[in-house]
Symmetry: C2
Subunit: 479 residues, 2 copies
């Protein structure tokens, strides 16, 4: 039994702002630049945990972390024409240094394909140096004109993990796309975030890409959020920089690239998708604190209860479990429960006189608030196994909620009524022609997410033209 | 016996650029924006190690990591008048978003006192919330007009650890300055960088500070580099933001602040101060690889030698030692020695047929290139003890070199000739009057670093006015 999620589903927006601010994850909206917020200490720790998972996956698959400058000169960013077309409306420009007007305007990087390709053209001369897989974790900037939302639509994306790889052949780059998709699956699985993987339609791929694979998830309000993208860039950027390298067969040719990114939205998803009316519910893998120990004051034996609580803390800590004792005297146990539930700590251990006398503890899981009594000698095993259980249950619950929001329909009428009544994602048979896809987008007033990345059987006829369907298109209202 | 350091001392500048680029630490000067460079994978790993030491020291002393936006609106940055006076010549300004001129210019943060004080004024209402100690690791920007040097004088300081603390009283902030100084001492000690701690003269303190404590070190060319600063900000910024909080005695008052920073220069110091003619020499604490295992090809027993080398690697790795086997077939052992010495790996293990037959290994320390033969069963103990020895010896050697560059003189004539002939730092008796100090700066053509932070006995008379000296002033040519 989960804690109710009525506040989230009926007024997600308000709930979301409340959790981010009350749980001290980000302070957003009070910083005096629109679309930019402050990562607070607790939020920063969650962010670090999330990034560590991602870094480990990338490091273990041969990716090398680097760090590029923030600023990209205008002439560089204009090298790839489709790329700048896609981004130029939303670039922030530095035009002054001190009191000087700069000769060349400098962009705050909106993404780093051009800067990285330029340097690769200096570093890489031949196929023996390929492939190279780089990544960096940086801020990127978009001059958003739409309404901004913390961690979802911002002007400074302050957590942007962007990977950039370079390969001898198109096929190598294609394999890299598959590796990236698999890494992102492992990443989202480890934080319990459900996803659909789609190949974005031609008209909505990354500016400068051959094709784009995207991860989408469904938020509690039924809106869809893009949480990760993987792009096959082909030779578009290497050609723009006239970067040729020697191939194994002795000829010179432009190498092929991919790029892929994960942003703040991964953290937004953890908060939004696992949360409930009491606040955040953190998967154990990203919780800065796994167990909070709360002593219940006792008139007779207060000091002994505290001592017992300290002993429990000590046992947890020495077993490598991130535990904390909340012995603050000015707060009641009830206030402490509220405080730590809001912050999503996976397990609470309550210790009062009753537990002291029985040599037990009460263990309460955050996701269901179920309590279990545990004998002290079983403490570590019980906590470890409950953390695993919570991890598993959060993932199952979130996947099952998402699946209930994805359904197949067959006509454009159904697309519209389904999206209006229940939001989520509708899948509709499609002939494969862009013209029909664009019409679906137009008629639904929603966004075409694309066709499934993994083949999916389809029967029926294109909802627009009526010819035999080749695949499906996914349509949703998106953030 | 150290490897010779003739290249470093006779032409430091060339040597420094060569190591940074050849050892693939940073690629600087080729990125198409002046004063900005790329952290390469190997350099990035050193940077991570250095930052982890710093983060651990800060986290263990109650500092909380946060992350602020990059951009600071002009009106905010103008709030503290001395502060903006100090920085306005070197601020980069964002004036355009997409095709729009922005209503308010946005500064790329040159440092974060104003932004943080502004948010603290929203977060902190009373003394029970004090002290708070925040820090962040970010890029800061200075529109340098002087010649830039990688990691030393740059326009994007891409590794800036800035701490910001806030306290109820002046004395609390004073104690915090002492804590910060002690943390920085531990930090520099752990990377073997020698330092002098000085209180900067009035005319050279941080823009907006009551006083500034600085760490300086001496580079191989005899020039001095400021590697860390700690500022007591008093109420200057809280007054500028009219931020009053409730004190324990019930009154309302402006809280007191400190800020302190460490930058890329810490990493520059590691490279410059420990290096030798073969390249970088990394202290074990920051070396991404502690031990490189190089097999020596053997006609008779090549496969067995390789197998033996793999066994050695396995033993090292399973003991938690960061080791790597360089089994590349296209490079000779000599080329591998050159490659890994350049990168400063503390220990090289050479394994050939001779070692295979004797069940030994040859262990070569990077700093002295001394070789020791070790029996295989003693491998782990020998490596661990040698890593400790290298750590100790590097620190001793660098401290002793620095001390030889610091000397007391008594007249302005001596100041000039000493600085001209041998560079380094001269200490000269001083009466304590700023007028005399400024005259010293003027006459020496060098920079006054300030007086010792820790009291130092002084005899003699002020080198300018001849009255009884109260303390000494340190003078040096600086980067």
């Amino acid at each position: 039994m989960r804690v109710t999620r009525s506040k989230i589903t009926t007024n997600f927006s308000e709930w979301y702002d409340w959790v981010l601010s009350e749980a001290e994850i980000v302070d957003y909206g009070r910083y005096p630049v629109k679309g930019m917020g402050v990562w607070m200490p607790y939020g920063f720790k969650i962010r670090e945990k999330v990034l560590n998972i991602l870094r480990t996956l990338l490091n273990n698959s041969g990716h090398e972390e680097i760090l590029f400058p923030l600023l990209v000169p205008e002439d560089l960013i204009r090298k790839e024409s489709k790329h700048i077309e896609g981004f130029q409306g939303e670039v922030f420009w530095v035009t002054k240094g001190g009191n000087d007007e700069l000769d060349v305007k400098l962009a705050l990087r909106p993404t780093s394909e051009v800067a990285i390709t330029y340097m690769e053209s200096l570093w890489i001369k031949g196929y023996t140096q390929l492939p190279r897989k780089f990544y960096q974790v940086v801020s990127v900037f978009r001059y958003e004109t739409k309404a901004t939302r913390p961690l979802l639509r911002v002007r400074e994306i302050s957590t942007f993990k962007e990977a950039h790889t370079i390969h001898e052949t198109f096929e190598d780059a294609d394999r890299q796309v598959k590796e990236a998709v698999s890494i992102y699956q492992q990443f989202f699985d480890s934080i319990g975030i459900p996803y659909l993987i789609s190949i974005r339609p031609e008209w909505d791929k990354f500016a400068g890409a051959i094709y784009t694979v995207a991860f989408d998830t469904v938020f509690p309000d039924g809106k869809v959020v893009q949480i990760g993208t993987v792009h096959h860039l082909g030779q578009n950027f290497t050609k723009a920089f006239d970067m040729k390298v020697q191939r194994a067969n002795g000829t010179l040719d432009y190498p092929h690239q991919t790029s892929y990114g994960i942003s703040d939205r991964a953290i937004a998803s953890i908060i939004a998708i696992h949360g409930d009316d009491h606040g955040a519910v953190l998967p154990p893998a990203v919780a800065p604190i796994s167990v909070i120990v709360v002593p219940i004051p006792s008139k007779e034996d207060n000091e002994k209860v505290l001592e017992y609580a300290r002993k429990v803390l000590e046992q947890l800590s020495s077993s490598g479990i991130a535990a904390r004792l909340d012995a603050a005297e000015k707060m009641t146990p009830g206030e402490k429960y509220y405080y730590w539930e809001l912050r999503g700590v996976p397990i609470r251990i309550e210790i009062g006189r009753r537990e002291l006398l029985k040599n037990t503890i009460v263990m309460k899981r955050r996701d269901t608030l179920e309590a279990t009594e545990v004998k002290l000698p079983d403490l570590i095993d019980a906590v470890k196994s409950l953390l695993n259980q919570i991890d598993k249950d959060l993932k199952e619950a979130s996947w099952s909620r998402m699946k209930s929001m994805v359904r197949i329909v067959h006509t454009m009428g159904e697309v519209k009524t389904e999206l209006e009544s229940k939001m989520g994602i509708v899948e509709v048979p499609w002939c494969g022609n862009d013209a029909c896809g664009l019409k679906m987008e137009e008629e639904s007033g929603a966004r075409v997410l694309g066709r499934p990345y993994h083949d999916q059987e389809v029967t029926g006829r294109c909802a627009v033209c009526g010819s035999t369907a080749k695949t499906i298109l996914r349509i949703a209202k998106t953030y």
